[in-house]
């Protein structure tokens, strides 16, 4: 099996690009948290007034906000919600009701006050607080225990528990443009946009950022994650800001976008999962949420506007894909997906995984073989052009272009929301295509893809739902047949790689029987019902076709179906 081992990571640990934590933008931001929050709130209020210019529009908006918030409190309460939530909103509502009896002159200052109160509350809730001590502790604790677990499990000798032969670095491979990322982070502000498959992504990516020698990034993390205590601890110490997907009202959304915009302008490297939520289907993200993405573009334009004639700090978008053999939540995610797809109705998000399940998973992860790889993509400017290591935007012929020019109309920079919406759409398409390019194919992805597509082909008359309802006993693929197809598709993946359309793990190139074995062993390795197994005759069977469908989706979008 030696041949199937991943190439040993040659990368030594990267040196930090900034010396001490006090130099980190995220630290400076949280040190002046109070001023920053107030600044964001002020700018948000200005923006809301632009969007709702008349008195009536503003009051309508405030009433709608209060109504929705009270509804949320009634219907969907979370542990993290502040204790005074209910009191606060009923007070706002009462104040709004009283307004109607007043003259416009009397009510104006009260409206302003209510708006200020709401926005400030939101910004305070969103804003993260990065604590250097807590960050250091978390980092060391995680590193120490991961290392112990890893060595205890891998090196089967007495005392192995205390050796450092293996580090996380062997378990989690970082591939791609790390050097470029480090360079860009010293020259400008990095906005990292990873794919999102699992709740673990947030922690994983935090480790990746640290291990690349980068200062901590600010995260937009789902508020639901803060319900889980262990996550809450991690996130708080990493400078995460909170995104509450239940709140869809204008003041909240504007506050959120303004927070991100201002933080980016202040040079805080940021990270968001542009898919908005974990991929339910296991597909690579096709549609991105444009709200937060647009803040990067807006921040860049603001920087150009506010510093005319000077060299402006550029913002770089760095797509990242996370590649797993196993996603803890896969069975529930795909169930959600099918539910929505099949019945076309909304399915509320539930998190069934508390701290215990997570720890158990982590333990399994470190004690059994199942690698993760993280592909760092090349840097893009906010329009989606590639940049070189100096941060210059390049056109398709390699000529340097000035990003500022994209915001220029009639020789001066103009503020055009519709234009920037369009740029956001273009950027999101670029990110999606970049995801497909840097995606790293594992043997397990390929095995899942080939097996599921073969079954689909055997029952051409069945739609997805009927296929998934077939009894698992009816499903069996001759090994020889599977092997041939696997080889054929694998060859196509080599060709795609040569065209620069996808990457694959080095282990994929091994002897075909070994690669298949590795793939089948690893796909969804820790699920109760394994998506792929070999039976006594050596043929391919499944114990859970639905979960197999999930893992197979990872390779959808490359037109490989035709080679089955």
């Amino acid at each position: 099996m030696e041949i199937l081992e991943e190439k040993k990571n040659k990368n030594r640990p990267y040196k930090p690009i900034l010396d001490g934590i006090p130099d980190w933008p995220v630290y400076r931001l949280s040190k002046n948290r109070k001023e920053f929050v107030e600044e964001v709130a002020q700018k948000t209020i200005e923006r809301i007034k632009q969007l709702r210019p008349t008195r009536k529009q503003l009051i309508d908006e405030l009433e709608a906000t209060a109504y929705r918030e009270q509804n949320r409190i009634k219907r969907n309460r979370w542990r993290v919600d502040p204790k005074d939530d209910s009191r606060f909103w009923s007070q706002v509502k009462n104040e709004l009701v009283e307004l109607s009896a007043k003259t416009p002159e009397e009510s104006k200052p009260i409206e302003e006050e209510i708006l200020h109160k709401i926005v400030l509350r939101y910004v305070n809730e969103i804003a993260g607080s990065f604590k250097p001590n807590s960050y250091r502790v978390t980092r060391e604790v995680v590193k120490f225990w991961f290392q112990r677990l890893l060595n205890g499990a891998r090196v089967k000798k007495f005392g192995a528990f205390f050796r450092s032969q293996y580090t996380l670095r062997d378990k989690i491979q970082i591939v791609g443009k790390v050097k470029m990322l480090r360079k860009l982070a010293t020259q400008g502000t990095v906005v990292m946009v990873p794919t999102h498959f699992s709740n673990l992504d947030s922690i994983l990516i935090g480790w990746v950022i640290h291990s690349c020698g980068l200062p901590a990034f600010i995260y937009g993390a789902g508020l639901n994650l803060f319900n889980i205590k262990i996550f809450a601890y991690f996130m708080n110490s990493l400078g995460a800001y909170k995104v509450d997907r239940r709140k869809k009202n204008l003041p909240y959304l504007e506050a959120l976008k303004m927070y991100s915009n201002q933080a980016i302008q202040k040079g805080a490297h940021s990270l968001f999962f542009p898919g908005g939520t974990r991929s339910r289907s296991g597909l690579l993200e096709k549609q991105l949420k444009l709200g937060l993405l647009s803040t990067a573009i807006e921040a860049q334009r603001n920087l150009y506007q506010e510093n005319p004639g000077e060299k402006v700090r550029k913002i770089f978008i760095v797509p990242v894909t996370l590649n797993y053999n196993f996603v803890l939540e896969a069975p529930d995610l795909v169930e959600d997906y099918l539910h929505v797809k099949g019945k076309d109705k909304y399915f509320p998000e539930q998190d069934k995984y508390g701290s215990v399940q997570l720890l158990r998973f982590l333990f399994k992860f470190f004690t059994k073989g199942s690698n993760i790889s993280v592909s760092i993509g090349p840097g893009l400017d906010v329009i989606g052009n590639y940049v070189d290591e100096e941060g210059n935007s390049l056109d398709s012929h390699g000529r340097i272009i000035d990003t500022r020019d994209y915001f220029v109309s009639n020789s001066s920079i103009t503020d055009d929301k519709q234009r920037e919406d369009e740029y956001t759409r273009m950027l999101s398409q670029r990110i999606v295509s970049e995801y497909h390019r840097i995606n790293r194919v594992f043997s397990s992805h390929l095995a899942a893809f080939v097996a599921f597509e073969m079954w689909q082909k055997k029952f051409p008359k069945l739609d997805l739902f009927s296929l998934l309802r077939l009894p698992e006993e009816d499903l069996e693929i001759e090994y020889a047949e599977f092997r041939e197809t696997f080889k054929r598709v694998r060859k196509k993946i080599y060709e795609l790689k040569d065209d620069g359309k996808v990457y694959h793990a080095t282990h994929l190139k091994g002897k075909v029987d070994g690669v298949i074995k590795l793939g089948i062993e690893n796909v969804g390795i820790f699920h109760l019902n394994r998506p792929l197994l070999l039976n006594k005759k050596g043929n391919i069977i499944t114990k859970d076709l639905t979960v197999l469908f999930y893992y197979h989706n990872r390779l959808v979008g490359y037109d490989l179906e035709q080679y089955i």
Partner: protein, 351 residues
């Protein structure tokens, strides 16, 4: 309407064909215009005679042979060159363009990129990865993203006579649309807005197929019933093909779709109509093409549309028969006979 400002930068027009010249004249009512012609003699002629192809040139127009100069002077450029030369022109222009440039083209044709040695007929299939609209060519070849297009019933001769007419300016960007309106609109020229640029482009291209067919009906001596039939069924066929190629239904119902279709199908002046007319009179395609001064975009469009229809499995009967007439020696009568006998009688099934 008076020239609103002389301090503003001039506007560029690339291509001094009929349409390019007429558009330059319309733009010249508002701004200084740089008009580029590929041919140096043509530029000298325009400078000296103050006219081009029989159209007098407005005094605000400065003819030029220098793309670099044009791009450095103008932020807004209107490329008006035939689709067959469009990509080559963009490759020449591209080094001088910056992201602040805005390009609004007026070319109704497709660009195709084939592997070396292949022709439209010889390759196994033709898909949207090989067939591009002009706005897509602009984006592929240059850093310009703010792109728009002009489409609609714009017969150059009528526009030059200041007869009432209209155009659509289509773009994903409002600023491009508004700019196009500001620059083009006058009391004789109405400008409509559309944000489905690809749909508008495709509508403008596909209508050329139906225009050839319309000419053919005329050449056979048929009257208005036949034309009404052709135009309405032709519009349906355009919708089907257009959707397969990525356009939205709405574009086909507007000025760039129905508007342009009706105009071209009724216009003996149009080049595509003429091709159909002479075919029906029994002339051979090669002979017709050899004595036409400008390109009839429709002929290439038929080849491309037929191949795409095959690939995307769209029923495009008129295109298909026209292809046989143009390239496989079928007579116009036989083709018409086939269409009249075809047993499909659903009127509209796409709304």
């Amino acid at each position: 309407m008076t020239s609103n400002s002389t301090s503003e930068k001039p506007v560029g027009v690339i291509g001094a064909g009929n349409f390019g010249t007429v558009i330059a004249n319309i733009l010249a009512l508002q701004r200084k215009v740089l008009l580029y012609a590929r041919n140096e003699q043509a530029v000298t002629h325009m400078r000296e005679a103050k006219e081009n192809r029989g159209y007098p040139l407005h005094q605000n127009i400065e003819p030029t042979h220098d793309l670099a100069y044009l791009a450095s002077q103008c932020d807004v450029i209107f490329p008006m060159v035939p689709s067959a030369h469009f990509r080559a022109m963009m490759k020449q222009l591209s080094p001088y363009l910056h992201p602040y440039h805005i390009l609004i083209h007026g070319t109704k044709g497709f660009d195709i990129t084939l592997p070396a040695g292949e022709t439209i007929e010889s390759i196994p299939k033709l898909t949207r990865t090989q067939v591009k609209t002009m706005s897509e060519v602009i984006q592929e070849e240059s850093v310009v993203v703010r792109v728009g297009c002009l489409a609609g019933p714009n017969l150059a001769k009528e526009l030059a006579q200041r007869q009432p007419g209209a155009t659509v300016v289509a773009s994903h960007f409002n600023e491009v649309i508004q700019l196009g309106k500001r620059l083009l609109r006058n009391d004789r020229f109405q400008v409509y807005e559309n944000n489905d640029i690809v749909g508008v482009e495709i509508a403008g291209v596909l209508k050329n197929i139906i225009a050839i067919a319309s000419g053919a009906l005329s050449g056979l001596g048929y009257g208005e019933n036949a034309k009404g039939l052709l135009i309405s069924r032709g519009a349906v066929e355009m919708v089907y093909l257009g959707r397969a190629l990525g356009g939205d239904l709405k574009a086909f119902l507007g000025v760039a779709g129905i508007g342009d279709l009706v105009t071209t199908c009724n216009s003996p002046m149009s080049r595509n109509f003429t091709v159909g007319y002479r075919l029906a009179k029994g002339e051979k395609l090669a002979a017709i093409l050899s004595d036409m001064a400008e390109v009839a975009e429709g002929i290439n469009t038929v080849r491309i549309a037929k191949k795409c229809a095959d690939h995307y499995k769209v029923r495009a009967l008129i295109t298909d028969r026209l292809y046989k007439v143009l390239f496989e020696g079928m007579t116009v009568e036989v083709a018409l006979d086939f269409l009249m006998r075809y047993p499909l009688n659903v009127d509209i099934d796409f709304i």
